[in-house]
Subunit: 501 residues, 2 copies
């Protein structure tokens, strides 16, 4: 055969990567300029058409060569991205990664260490052991931590460890607040556990008295119960009363898991760390540095207070951890994950921790939390907007005063279709809210003022649509071609009143 295409590793890898990275960077720059906003306009149909044009054929008989493929597809991906680095992209716990973390992640791709055996990842496995211990120690000095693909896998693993700890006494029963992340319910289903018990959270946080009552009402040994509390809810960024919940669990000898996928970032902030008081009493804690840690996905962790619990994951596969290899001193890595091949996500985390230090990371956390406070104050003072509550973390829920729930969902979709802003939604306290999850430390107050203006404008557009006042002419400067494309493919609601920027 002809010379195979160059590899990313080895001594020659960096030289092979250089021109390809230059092509990727050019496409990232040009794609972002072509997008010109937080997300592409036109909704799913328009984006799908552009991607299809770029990607087709997916598997050609003969390739285009690496640089052309990179330019075409990275450009399409970038032009069609909802980019969290744009301050107006603020819907979800979807952080804009730091450049330093993305650069470090390249080295993981190039070297491709696999974390399932020492002889595939000698240094990467040593680094992971150091960094997981150091992060776990932020919660409890004796704790260890496993690296996961995110909060969802961390929550699944916490359930699995609890299932195995309970096994001698009976099947595990999970108790969650109704404010808990959906992945806990899904995790129980995945693991074949009985349906979870849901505990009321009338004020958005798990009520310790209601939890106590629920535990009192349940039969079976309480030592087979796992209570899952939340430090940073997905909808509102609220933190359950962790220390009080830990008291209730201790009284019932129930196991405690805390999902701090969002709120765990407060550990880096000297000013806000106290909000997590009680977290050190949990048996397991979910952390997620692709939220308040500014990592590209994935960067999840499960902190385990008593490392003996990890024995439940012990697993043998002779080709990876034969007994005589382990006896001879080769580290056994298979019990560190449910995955086998595993990317060293710890590298980007380690580089970021070293580059920024605790002070630098804490400043970023404080920055976005302060932004949220200021934005909330601005909304509260605004005659046309209503605020849900003072933000506990960096999530701000608000609504136009004159909007009903259906209208509000339309407004959110209108912003997406216009390509002008990405906001989330949450149903809380009997009403629907727009959700701004602020995770971009570069966001300025003027960006957030713009966000409110865009919501006002979109709300008016939706109202006009609804009252049938809008004529073909009034629908804006859309080109004939763009409108035709939209009309061919889009479902009616999403693309109603599309107004290109």
């Amino acid at each position: 055969m002809s010379t195979p295409p160059p590899l990313a590793g080895g001594v020659q890898g960096p030289d092979a990567l250089r021109p390809l990275l230059a092509a990727a960077l050019d496409a990232l720059r040009d794609g972002a300029a072509a997008r010109g906003g937080p997300l592409p306009r036109g909704g799913p149909a328009a984006v799908g058409d552009r991607v299809r044009t770029a990607a087709d054929p997916v598997l050609p008989e003969h390739g285009t060569g690496p640089e052309a493929a990179l330019r075409t597809l990275v450009h399409a991906l970038t032009e069609g991205a909802a980019d969290p680095a744009d301050p107006l992209c603020a819907a979800h716990l979807h952080c804009p990664p730091l450049a330093v973390a993305a650069a470090a992640d390249l080295a993981a791709s190039a070297l491709n260490p696999s974390m399932d055996s020492w002889d595939q990842a000698p240094a990467a496995s040593a680094l992971e052991a150091l960094v997981t211990r150091a992060l776990a120690a932020e919660i409890h000095p004796a704790a260890d931590a496993l690296v996961t693909t995110g909060g969802t896998e961390s929550n699944q693993l916490a359930l699995l460890l609890a299932r195995e700890a309970a096994a001698p006494r009976g099947p595990l029963r999970l108790l969650v607040g109704e404010n808990a992340h959906h992945s806990l319910i899904r995790g129980a289903w995945l693991l074949g556990l009985p349906g979870p018990v849901t505990v009321p959270a009338p004020a958005g946080t798990l009520d310790p008295a209601a939890l106590d009552e629920a535990l009192n009402e349940l039969g079976g040994p309480h030592t087979t119960f796992l209570v899952a509390a939340t430090a940073g809810t997905t909808d509102a960024g609220l933190i359950d009363p962790l220390d009080d919940i830990a008291d209730v669990c201790a009284a019932h000898r129930a196991r405690l898991h805390i999902d701090a996928a969002y709120g765990g970032g407060l550990l880096f902030s000297d000013v806000r760390k106290h909000l997590l008081h009680g977290i050190e009493r949990a048996h397991t804690v979910t952390l997620d540095l692709h939220k308040l840690g500014w990592q590209p996905a994935a960067a999840g962790l499960l902190v385990v207070r008593d490392p003996h619990d990890l024995a439940a994951l012990t697993h043998r596969a002779d080709y990876l951890n034969a007994d005589d290899d382990t006896d001879a001193g080769l580290p056994d890595l298979l019990g560190r994950s449910l995955r086998t091949t595993r990317r060293p996500d710890i590298l980007k985390i380690a580089v970021t921790l070293k580059a920024l230090g605790r002070t630098g990371l804490g400043a970023l956390v404080d920055q976005v939390c302060d932004q949220a406070r200021q934005f909330a104050a601005h909304i509260e003072a605004h005659p046309r907007f209503e605020l849900y509550d003072t933000p506990a973390l960096s999530t701000v829920l608000f609504r136009p005063t004159d909007a009903d729930d259906t209208h509000l969902a339309h407004v959110r979709r209108q912003l997406l279709t216009d390509g002008t802003a990405v906001l989330g939604r949450a149903d809380l306290a009997g009403r629907r809210w727009l959700k701004a999850t602020l995770l971009n430390p570069h966001t300025r107050p003027t960006d957030l003022a713009t966000l409110l203006e865009l919501v006002t404008k979109a709300s008016e557009e939706v109202s006009e649509e609804a009252s049938g006042e809008v004529s073909e002419e009034a629908s804006g400067e859309a080109s004939g071609e763009a409108k035709e494309r939209v009309n061919q493919h889009a479902t009616p609601d999403l693309l109603e009143g599309t107004t290109p920027r």
Copy 2:
């Protein structure tokens, strides 16, 4: 606060990334040169010491800044890597990634699309839909595919879909060949299923007659049975008789899963595709492009012949896929994975497929399979080595003729400790073998001749150690300092007879 560190995304991201990527590339180059071989010498203790020196403190109070952190930690990771781009690193299904795939993966890190909702990944989700369908169509025209973290998660998902399909009739019972990947057994445990039935595989592949017998002996409705076959075993790269197994499954109305994590790459080769005959009859198929696809981890897929099966993964979380959003045309992505936040691993795959085309990928597959045949022939002709069998894929099992099983395990560890070669091990047909998994298309015949020489030399060293003939002086040119470091930390067996290169 002072200006926050730069982000990877947005219009400014590429300029921020440029100097940081240059630092990472320099560290990759210098680290590889410092290593000077397929893996670091000295074993876990020596590697651990170097990593600790570089990493400590993991979370300093004040950061070192991005470039210093990148240089230090990427250098340490590279110097301490087992680099599959080195032809002498050939133990596992641990492929050297193509430079084009690693470059594409940078764009995923920089933009950070998350595949759990359209408004976090407009173009990335559209691209994933196209590419997964195209890859699934390589197996069956109606099939769809999910993206996973690798073969292990694909196997878990296959079990989960089978569990849910069986549920109305009873608990799922898994039947696996004794040659199957360990992740299937672990997956059954994870999902709370009854213990799997193991079917004999005396010749290294699942015996259809034995499978038929096992199914005949089992009670319960056969429609609750899942048979897992393997196309490319981890130990020897063997392919089960897929079509015959499909016949047995059809006769019993049992469901069929094929784990083609390794062998699936043959789909790209016109010459070898026929070896997978029958794969199109499976309900689900595991593929893994971080094996014969030259992707950095993770690049797993689960092909699902009947997309209706995917309904089992339907899951609602109002902030991601509220009914009215889905009705309005926003794609519902939550049922495409058990993860929530999810990196767009599809990008690097899409860029690679387009860059190389079917012909280019097929040529790489044929290249490593041909290498394996040639290496096997060379071993067969060698008076001091014994060959297990002609390779079916790219795995070659062999042993020095004069070595017993214990000695052979010592030889493998000796090579690791010396830092001269990374070979795997397998116990098959009542004996232990050294395993060379050839996945590097740049490997030359001279590299493989060197590999045999290194094994011969290590075998002699181990023999000398065992017979106590080696004196302090004979242990080579080790510097006093290196020896001291080794002696302080190492477990005795692993580091016996350490001979620095």
